[in-house]
Symmetry: C2
Subunit: 243 residues, 2 copies
């Protein structure tokens, strides 16, 4: 499809219009940020790697009955997606305490949780994406009860699929963030990306970090590790031929 205008540009992606009003190009940048934009950098080839990982995972999730915004690839750093209105809630699932959860509640990082812990955060960079309770979401109209129930149920389905998927690659899914959007017809679909930027991935056995914490915490081998994850995903999930 022919690219039109940049509709909006975020920290790691930009959305570009096409000649189909219901389809956008999701362009993956190499830019990396952490701590709500305080730490900035470039992870070489991240755009390409994250685009490939996301495309393969979205395509596979569709075969598992999950509705997503994925429509195919435009190039190796551009994905064609449904134009959706993003629901302003980050839907987080955690199998292991790490990052903000560990810090917020004084839980030792690496503590296994008895069952997946689900959290909502408000998508708002200016406010630092604050934690939300259901009462807050309802009080300020960020979503209604029905939408939250849907996000929790659909998110949990995706969480269970991804936990098993990564496990099959020798990787523990520690936690991850999902975003959902509404198509013009009202259908809620999984949107955004599924990449090491938004997941914590620890190698099973060694707990070696294979995600954006390598950048956040300056652990080195950032690009190599992203590429390694992409290779593992590519071997497990072949990409359909693009039209």
């Amino acid at each position: 499809m022919s690219a039109g205008q940049v509709l909006n540009e975020g920290k790691s992606k930009k959305m570009i219009t096409t000649d189909d009003p219901e389809v956008l190009i999701q362009y993956f940048k190499d830019d990396a940020t952490a701590f709500n934009g305080v730490k900035k950098g470039i992870i070489g080839s991240k755009g390409k790697v994250n685009c490939a990982i996301s495309a393969r995972i979205f395509q596979w999730l569709e075969t598992e009955g999950v509705k997503t915004h994925y429509r195919g690839l435009q190039s190796e750093i551009e994905m064609l997606v449904d134009r959706v209105e993003i629901i302003p809630l980050e839907v987080v699932f955690r199998n292991v305490a790490a990052g903000s959860l560990a810090k917020r509640f004084g839980i030792e990082e690496g503590t296994e949780l008895d069952s997946p812990l689900q959290e909502f955060f408000l998508k708002d960079d200016d406010l630092g994406d604050p934690l939300l309770t259901r009462n807050h979401v309802l009080a300020f109209g960020w979503a209604d009860d029905e939408t939250m129930d849907h996000l929790i149920a659909e998110g949990r389905k995706v969480h269970d699929l991804l936990t098993e998927f990564w496990k099959g690659l020798g990787i523990k899914l520690v936690d991850h963030k999902l975003e959902f959007g509404r198509r013009a017809d009202g259908t809620i679909v999984l949107a955004d990306e599924i990449t090491p930027d938004g997941c914590r991935l620890w190698e099973i056995g060694t707990d070696r970090k294979m995600d954006k914490d390598r950048f956040r915490r300056s652990l080195g081998k950032v690009e190599e590790t992203y590429a390694e994850v992409a290779d593992l995903v590519a071997k497990a999930l072949p990409l359909d031929a693009q039209v």
Copy 2:
């Protein structure tokens, strides 16, 4: 009752044993802190004022069918209370957006909420009393579902009573924090204190602040305003003669 040892001392109160193992003395200090102890000071006569306000309100709540830890006064700055195990959840109710809620979610202070908003915070000074969702409470065992349901229902009852009570004094109850504890027999009772330290109270019509925000925000007339609140409460709620 004769006072024994200081069992523990907090920022604004200390708990002292008595010769009855099920009864403690709750001693009200003049010390004031804000921003999790970063700002410190003394509010003259606060101990006396807060003890009087709390005693009168607890006594009245009991007549309204609310179980509390209140057993009477030991002196004008000492209250006799049930020895309870404090449940480590602050139960907050809000009628109007203010303070941390306004800041966290970018809501203009003073915005009236359509219905009372209930929040839980973890009672943990070292962690800065973080906001909790029900999922966090369950995941880390801070309380079970039944206890949370009880705290929400009983807290809401107290909230509705107090909202009407303060309204009768020409004061808007903006928000307030409740704490609950378990007696040795397992009964959950309202504990801690009900004072301008833990409530936001705005004069109806002028929105003049009549609570600890006068200290937090250095608004002046701190002692005078606490005394004014105590006088209003004393006129509305006579204290029973002490045995």
